[in-house]
Subunit: 310 residues, 6 copies
């Protein structure tokens, strides 16, 4: 069973909207090696896990990383939404009144014709979608779950490393601060997950030598990433275990396979960052309420309820 | 951010394995109107939600139902796994030794050739997959999120009702107790979600008359469902809000739109049911460990760690 | 612009339901070489047609065949529905009461678990679907429209011949009379369309020698087909032109390219056959009306309207 | 059975070609909520319709709207073709001779490399394709036909409203007159169809309050739409019933659910607008005839036939 | 550039046709981890290979294994064809005359309705198709080619191991000798390829300990596999290099990573096995020639040509 | 069985990188009518070929053309890679240091955001992918193999002609010499293949008149193509038969069906052109080796092996 807390797993920096960056980030959300895929893959692997009761630490590791990925979907999805939100008048393109659809025959959405994915304005309302950066919808056949423990771990290591590789490439595509704050965070967390699966394979006798992490990067290259590495975020793994039943710490411990001199350790969850509600976009008819409907909503909001949730 | 607790949202009854029933349940997991879809749709709708701060109860309702759907994915996925687990020798078909792959040239998996989805034995290891009952992989383009509040709610109502319709049909396909315990529970919870979205539309002025719930069913028809209705499970909605910030109760209250005389109410989460680890299946090479690797795993399991998760 | 008349283009023979035959016929409806594809391909080719005004007979030929294909979709779709309708108790399998879902926990749909496409009972309500016989949904990328006239005609000839080949194979799979009445009719009409595109290529100088029709069949082989050939149905083409503007007759004339000694000729449309409404199936909740809703529908049916359609 | 008349359901205004607008309109043709989908969905729902004979008005309403959608496919498809036709030299980009492929090594199609969908020039010949605005091919799994009457109507209402929402967004993307003449017409017709399905649900007891139409728009916003609303086009529904057997008028009557003070009424079909044949595009090899083949075509065109179509 | 020799890479044993086994083998041909995928993945990785000239042994290893996979596609495809060929009367089901389509209204293909993939009889003519065992068509997005050498090798190791795992499972599904001769051969060759990529990673410093091969199998389990292991086929790699330019031997050497005590070595290519042409199947209209066309083909066959190929 | 020689089938001219041209060429590689498709289609048709032993020339023709297509995949794939390689700083866009990822927070890949297919930089490493020019992955359902000889040949003729048509259109999109050298070569080879299938149909009695080749082109139009036609490359077909067993010459002989006055003839294979290894791209982490890993690779390269390949 899952619980939710109204906080983001990392802070999303404020910057100008940027639909091209938003589109690049879609790969990290709905791509073959993005967060929706890691999330689903680990949840299925945990759900279908087989083995002796002594193998529980492996199941718990999968469950913990998988739960974190749901929060990553939430983080990168919201980041994409913020990069799109209000983008019709980004970059000084203000020839038509934006957010004033009442203007006589205006074209406030004309940006959609020649920027990244037209669906961001036409099918969604300047929000994230479950597709990759080339517009391909997410596919169930991405999920790998052979049931063979060595193979599943090997795939997961490759998967996290590929995700990290792609995010490093996205980093090199844009310097928008909103985009980079999330991309840098995920680069570091992907390394933490590389460590998790590499360590699990170490427990089965594999020695990785110097090949990790993948890709090889240097601190000078990605300053925002360096800040997070300095805090050791690549060497901690959360269990997100509300009832503290996880045994993942039996695996996620000892010297990091990334050869960076750190020791791996676990914790339940990080501190979170506050959530807000995105503003109305009238040119998208989102949420599309007229005065009459707005009044009804406000009546709902004012309801005093004996707090029956406790 | 999300947390996990090692408990199922409902109990899964014990019965014989049944791969054909398992395959039918795949529609409820990976089908166009299954739990993966409702989960993703509501998480995207909540993530991309737009509106005045007074509209927070609507966002919270979406978030709460969406979080519940993750637990439904876990429940129905595990149910499918149990229906498949050990199924090669179900139904008295024991001509070859099962789970003894050392037997000289035996065919312990021959059941796979003519029962439901061969991928359950060939690609997965007698476990659930993110596909529907006809084998189509789940598709990102299933997710609907127009950004228009009325439309999103209308779609969600239709989605829950269709999910419920399909589950009622699955109920009529099998009397396996494992399958029915989960299907019956989801029929009732889908009705609770029908109520949620119907009520949200009521708050915007729609009057549903006598069309709900969809489909119309009678208590005599589905005894397992009747048991759960008698407990009122169709008229409660959980917030799964770990920090108790949800305002969903402002919407989910008052007379049920299902016209069954009940009052709607909310709670944080239900009591859960214990999880176990599925046994090894040697004919699937899952987890596929030989003596040497097993010894290494046991060494991991015996690690005493200063509980650094606290 | 299109008009509809409430008649089928051919009579559908009465026989027992047969879900396996229904599934085979899905290839003729939603397969890569089925009626949805020919319909869409010719409508697009006609819509995007380029050329000198003297080329109008070619455009009109495409439009006429394309319009006929919509009626074929209607014919084969309805045939599939009839083969499925009531099939849960076909073949003597009457252990559970069908169409009486009120029975206590019965499994009237258990046939769905091991007969052809489970979606016929689970997603649809014993009705046709836009998929092929292997369950793949119809795809827009099937449609071929290069804009090059010779190529488009060559493709169409190949397309009709492949459709005819597949229907001859379906004929050999079942002797159900409902299935065969439609399949035999379409085998003959596909030959008429082979003739249409072969003749159009003849007008551009190609000589087909003895290769048509494809596949080669003999009258003794398919008795139901022979009956229709004896009536000359393979050598007539309808224009379905409500305003009689079609110039297709300038192409569809002269000796048949099938070398069967017939002369090609055109007509506006054939005589039709009456339509009926399929009965309720309570185990499918289709249409799923309870007494209260039925009473409302009857009220609508009794409305006397000043016939404003004239 | 279907008939065709060589007239468009609405007039397509003349303006410059505009490939980006053409691409946006592809969503309205081949998108998940476009005309191909509504057409197929209603044709399947009518074909598979179940119920008491008293429910015939519902079947007829579906059939009538479905038949109209075929004409919409024809209208928007042709509009896209016109927006593409000759577009290589639109917008003053005339560095290479267009439509003169004999020029020595010229690049008359270079526009294809950086404007909207390259397939419009490479796979098609400056013509419409069965894909959406992001290039995804149309999918059979879009079609919804649960067989449950309330659900099918609810889905259809949502579908028309979503189609209308997307077309309002397309309107805001371009002021090309060719594009807008068709988009505005379809916005109004989608509202007529919203009314159709909303009214059918009203007949089952639902009261829509003030939520319709979706999305809420104001007359000042979309001047071309206002012109059509002033003519009452949103409150009339055609039966396209060649044999006048439709009972749709029993449902499509009385006060409009859109709360605009109009009364709903039916008619057989609107007046049409003339069709023409698109010119040759030599750079596309469409139709690609050389002198010899052209002479053969002209010979066909001059054939005098005893009018055997009468 | 590629050359072909009219010989199979392994002998295909003779046994009865078996369509269910044929269908299982489709996973090995057109599945996500089948031979079409390995072939395409390695050809793309070799084609897009980047690096210092000293890295040529890695490129050559990829090219050599990739070329072998084309021969595997040929081998398993032909095996599937043989398992299907004549299958309508397999297993004593001879109620209708097979291969005599002239019989009056007979149903020689009725087996297609309830055995494995109906497309094997309806779309193909009892031959292999580029789909997996659940009927999903092969997808270009299967191909993985990140460009990062470590990642590509890691993926390839996982890919070969998964292919081997699936083939071991297929082995356990059927004891048909035709099927097993090919499956056993591919199990051993997949291990040779596991060794190739594991060794390449060893050259970069990884030590695999005891985890290889995956899955762990014992000789007693799969007798046909044991025969091939005894010949050392798991420890040799062919270069298939017609101009002997391959440097793969610099990598494929030394102790096997499978810990079986063998030494790795290379050779150009194995000896081959003769090819034949499959017989006509008249019930499939394949090749579908009548007397007149047959006479024309025989005329072609008798042409004496001055052997201009030398 | 297949062999490889480290030579290209044609020379790739040197020019500037051009990612838009690279993307257009993807249609020729991974499109519905591209080289991957022709390759797979002919290999399947040859593998599943049925008939009298006298029909061997037809099987051999298919096998020979199919083998050539593998070399075409290699040629066009490499051409795409060269057009992408180094493209981030093409066209004078050098604001950020390319290939120096160590630069502090630079954006060397920003070109990916607004040029052709972002996956060329994000998923691949400036290399070819198995997708078409609109980004759709290659699909197994493209492959056509009905088993009926006439139909398969007819389809193949249409397929080659469509491939040629699309390549003529691509020629008109770019004058980049790298792109044109390959496109022009393939235009001419597609004509050779048109001739092959047209001639095979001629042997069955069809007379093509003046419709070939498709599309009609004139020498002045495409100068690079004219050069190759002058060498007669459109009228020769290679067998690529390493054991010289092909009987394709019995079909590929006599006057060309293209009516260009040439005689058809066969040869084993053309002379080849040398291959090189593409350079490292550090901004793509391809191959992504640091000093330590590079040293290990160099050690491998220096291995002296007793040449066990001979």
């Amino acid at each position: 069973m899952y619980l939710h807390t109204q906080q983001f797993i990392n802070e999303i920096a404020v910057d100008e909207p940027d639909p091209a960056a938003a589109n690049a980030l879609q790969e990290g959300l709905g791509g073959q090696f993005g967060e929706m895929r890691t999330m689903m893959q680990y949840l299925f692997q945990s759900m279908n896990f087989r083995g002796d009761p002594t193998s529980k630490p492996y199941k718990d590791l999968l469950q913990g990383v998988g739960t974190e990925e749901i929060s990553h979907v939430e983080l990168i999805g919201t980041t994409i939404s913020r990069l799109l939100d209000g983008s019709p008048d980004y970059n000084g393109k203000k020839t038509d009144p934006v957010d004033q659809p009442g203007a006589n025959g205006a074209t406030p959405l004309k940006i959609a014709l020649d920027h990244s994915n037209i669906h961001h304005y036409l099918v969604g309302a300047q929000g994230a979608m479950p597709v990759d950066a080339a517009g391909n919808p997410w596919l169930g056949s991405y999920v790998y779950n052979s049931g063979n423990l060595v193979l599943d771990l090997l795939y997961n290591l490759m998967l996290e490393s590929t995700g990290r590789l792609q995010k490093c490439r996205i980093y090199e595509m844009t310097d928008n601060k909103t985009a980079r704050s999330t991309i840098s965070y995920l680069i570091v967390r992907d390394q933490a997950h590389e460590n998790a699966f590499a360590k699990a394979l170490e427990s089965l006798g594999v020695n990785w030598g110097a090949v990790l992490p993948i890709p090889k990067t240097s601190a000078e290259q990605f300053p925002e990433v360096k800040n997070l590495l300095d805090k050791g975020l690549q060497s901690i793994q959360y269990t997100f275990s509300a009832d503290d039943q996880s045994q993942a710490a039996k695996l996620y411990r000892g010297a990091s396979p990334s050869n960076d001199g750190t020791e791996l350790s676990t914790a339940v969850m990080p501190e979170g960052f506050p959530m807000t509600i995105a503003p109305e976009r009238r040119e998208e008819f989102a949420p599309g309420l007229d005065k009459e409907l707005l009044a009804l909503i406000q009546a709902t909001a004012e309801v005093e309820i004996a707090s029956n949730e406790k």
